[in-house]
Amino acid sequence: MKRIALLGMPNTGKSTLFNRMTGGAARVGNWPGITVELLSGKILLGGDMVEIIDLPGIYDLHGFSDDEQVVRHFLHDNVPDLALVILNASQIERQMSLLLQLKQLNMNIVVLLNMADEAKKFGISIDAAKMSELLDMPIFLLSAKYGTGYPEALKAATKALSYPTPGMAEELRSQLEQDEHIETEMAKVLKDAVQIPARLSDNLTEKLDSVMLHPWFGLPIFFGVMYLLFQGIFLFGQPLQGGIAQGFTWLRETALVPLLSGLPQALQGLLLDGIYNGVGTVAAFVPIIVLFFLFMAIIEDSGYLSRAAFLMDALMAKLGLDGRGFVMLLMGFGCNVPALMGTRVMRSRAMRLLTMLVIPLSLCSARLQVFIFFTAALFSAKAAPIVLFSLYLFSFATAILTALIFKHQFKNTEPFVLELPPYRFPTARQMLLRGWLEVRHFLRRATKFIVAGVVLVWLLTNLPFSATPSSPDTFAGIIGSALHPVFQPVGINEQLTIALIFGFIAKEIVIGALAVIYGLSGDALSGAIGQQLDWVQAYSFMLFTLLYTPCLATIATLQSESKTLKFTLLSLGWSLSLAWLLSFAFYQSARALGY
């Protein structure tokens, strides 16, 4: 099958074009010579199936960034039959250098000058035919977002594909270092084929920036935007999540329970409480992820995310992170899973990993449910808000601590120089496609892992079948008492230890697990817990819950996004140690002080 590679600088609309060509039907895959996965899709072009590969954006074919190395290695080991080079027409005067570098590789190239709509708006006029003649390459103006010029571009690509693929000479592949004559060639083509007004006329962006990036108002506006975003996602997301949960319960009670009633008790339990609940756990994340990326598409495509980086950089640079990481960290306070997926905007792998190490410490809405239950059971109405607030402080403090400790291990070596694109508004199609693609990615990557985890915990809390489920006689109970010496110094008893094992799956089920363990529910449960524990033990338990592994879905996402088991284990190990050490320090000092 013939291969078309999409090449270009970051932010030129490669993904937009890719999505238009493939209609979103893409998959991620591995390629020889490179370690990262690339998005590719198959389409019918001129009667033949061809594969289209979306390569990461690069500034310079000879650059040193992670992405630039990936692209070099890809081209070296998988010479495409056609390279579609996408340039931003309104920045043609600087982007042409990349085209000329690529031209030296003697590939079969079709050039697409994207964002023709914007270039026109800015008063830049480009004579594509003239340019084509000067560079001796087919060149077309295009607007990938709105589709103008797309049929012509596709026709040109089809035609170019019918030419034999020029083999790339080895010496060309290895020595790519003669850039001097690129400068002169670039100047000549620009002079003859492009006209750029002396001053750009994007008044809207300038006006918006003078407010959004204002020295005093910029930050308050940023926090306002973040607050709205957060509220928006969870205001819409929580009812949807609740609805999905109800739907699952309804299906279970009306259809599955009667259907399976003939089976042995243990098998019923495994199917319903193990596998079915696992699928339900996965499904509960779907609305949050879709909404998150709908909103993220706005923030990112509008260009505001780069503005956030500008505003927050002074602080984040000290932590070895950047402002975009801060946005993801904040979103983590709603749900860690999409926040982890969102770190993909960071192109430096080291910085991305550091951000991913920090995010799981954000107090997400599932953990909040546990804390609300415990504070209500053990603290007065007056003390409860202060207790909750202190947990948020711990969350922030441990995040900062983690960044400071690990910033040397995950040292970002890429220069922090970002483009501030003009403000753009994404089309509804772009937003929906984004939400859908991300959910599909999550479902494909995480479902098996999460269902297996839920089944495992079900087995632990139900085997051997002679024991009462979740009682001290089950495997979970045995593990709980084996761990007793570890948890006793932090004030966590055996019942709570079993609840922590459940909490590994998802924090949403901790309270439900306690209800099963104690055989009580609602007010009776909080009464019993309030009787059995004092506030020091309860707070220690909450600290532990705050910091140890957020949930299976987070682990699955850490693994699927980092693709390194070592990193996932580091994150797990670090959060567990941090949880234990902090609870220990808190519990022992509180006791030493006589509480």
Binding site: Q91, G218, A314, P415, F416, V417, E419, L420, P421, P422
Partner: protein, 77 residues
Amino acid sequence: MSANTLATMHPGDIATILHIHAEEALHKRLLALGFRSGKKIELIRKASFSGPIQVRVGTTDIMLRRSEAAKISVEKS
């Protein structure tokens, strides 16, 4: 006025890039973003708390940290 760098410019200033004294990775990135000696550069704004600066080279707006801006010498015009 040869000691001027991009970091010492003020919002609204326009200057000409004289030389980029950066290590290779940064140098390449700056070149690709349109920084070349002889090119006009405008400082648009500086972020508060000694944060990054926003500049315009050609048709592109770019943000970079002040430490990196100090590696670009300019001549005010």
